[in-house]
């Protein structure tokens, strides 16, 4: 009994929505980054699910997944460095307080 592809797609859609909700609703900038990481992982899970069901013989999707994971790691390093720099300036990681550019 095999699992239909739609199950994986629905799971990753749900995870993407959870990450999006976290990134949009929370005040803490670190939780916003956590939400972005959850969205990244949902996308990569989608990629691997499509690879498993449709192109099992070639490894292109796995290459894409490896590069996506590397880019996500670089993104999280830069994002956390930005959070630390912002904290040094505002003494807070609250995204609602970062409004110096607001007119």
């Amino acid at each position: 009994m095999t699992i239909p592809l739609g199950h994986y797609l629905m799971l990753s859609g749900l995870l993407f929505a959870i990450g999006l909700g976290g990134a949009l609703t929370r005040k803490n900038a670190i939780i916003v980054l956590i939400g972005i990481e959850i969205m990244f992982n949902a996308g990569i899970l989608n990629l691997i699910a499509f690879w498993h069901y449709n192109h099992f013989a070639v490894l292109t999707a796995q290459m894409f997944a490896i590069f996506a994971i590397s880019i996500a790691a670089a993104e999280s390093a830069i994002g956390l460095a930005l959070v630390i720099a912002v904290y040094r300036y505002y003494k807070s990681v609250d995204v609602d307080e970062m409004k110096s550019l607001k007119g």
Partner: protein, 169 residues
């Protein structure tokens, strides 16, 4: 197979939910680690074992530790008491957007629309040897570009985080 899928899926979704709703940021990161492990288990279930190992090494080993260090360096860990203290000013638009996106995605990928062909007993060619070979043969240019990107990201992160020290000199 089916039971394993549902078990891992439930653990993954619970980890993701707790990672965005818990009040204490450190608890959020611990739930995030649970989520990452669940995703890695899904990769193993999908017979992408190298990606699963990479997921555990990079996400659980590096990204989660990086987030924990960022929490320690920014210090106000616990947030406040009520939901007003942890939710942003426009939390209801965010919630509505996320719920809409969830509904649209679930509608778009509902089972009768997507037809995936299950691998008909094909031997898994996902061995690490093969991945390493095509990584330095067919994919060598993206591989080197990724090396440059990671170096640039490393230097950039250090420069951004050390901004004040550099200005003082």
């Amino acid at each position: 197979m089916y039971i394993a899928f549902w078990f891992i899926s439930i653990i993954t979704v619970i980890g993701a939910l707790l990672a965005v709703v818990l009040r204490n940021v450190v608890h959020c990161v611990l739930s995030l680690i649970l989520f990452f492990l669940g995703i890695a288990a899904h990769y193993f279930l999908l017979r992408a074992d190298f990606i699963g190992a990479v997921q555990i090494l990079i996400y659980v080993g590096a990204v989660a530790v990086l987030i924990l260090f960022a929490i320690m360096l920014t210090r106000n860990v616990t947030g406040g008491e009520g939901p007003r203290e942890i939710l942003g000013g426009t939390w209801w638009t965010g919630t509505i957007t996320a719920a809409l996106i969830a509904a649209i995605l679930c509608w778009a990928v509902s089972v009768d629309r997507v037809a995936g062909v299950a691998p008909a007993g094909a031997q898994a060619k996902s061995s690490v040897l093969l991945i390493g070979r095509i990584l330095i043969a067919d994919w060598v240019v993206p591989f080197e570009a990724m090396a440059v990107l990671l170096t640039a990201a490393l230097i950039g992160a250090v420069v951004i985080a050390l901004e004040e020290v550099m200005r003082r000199r």
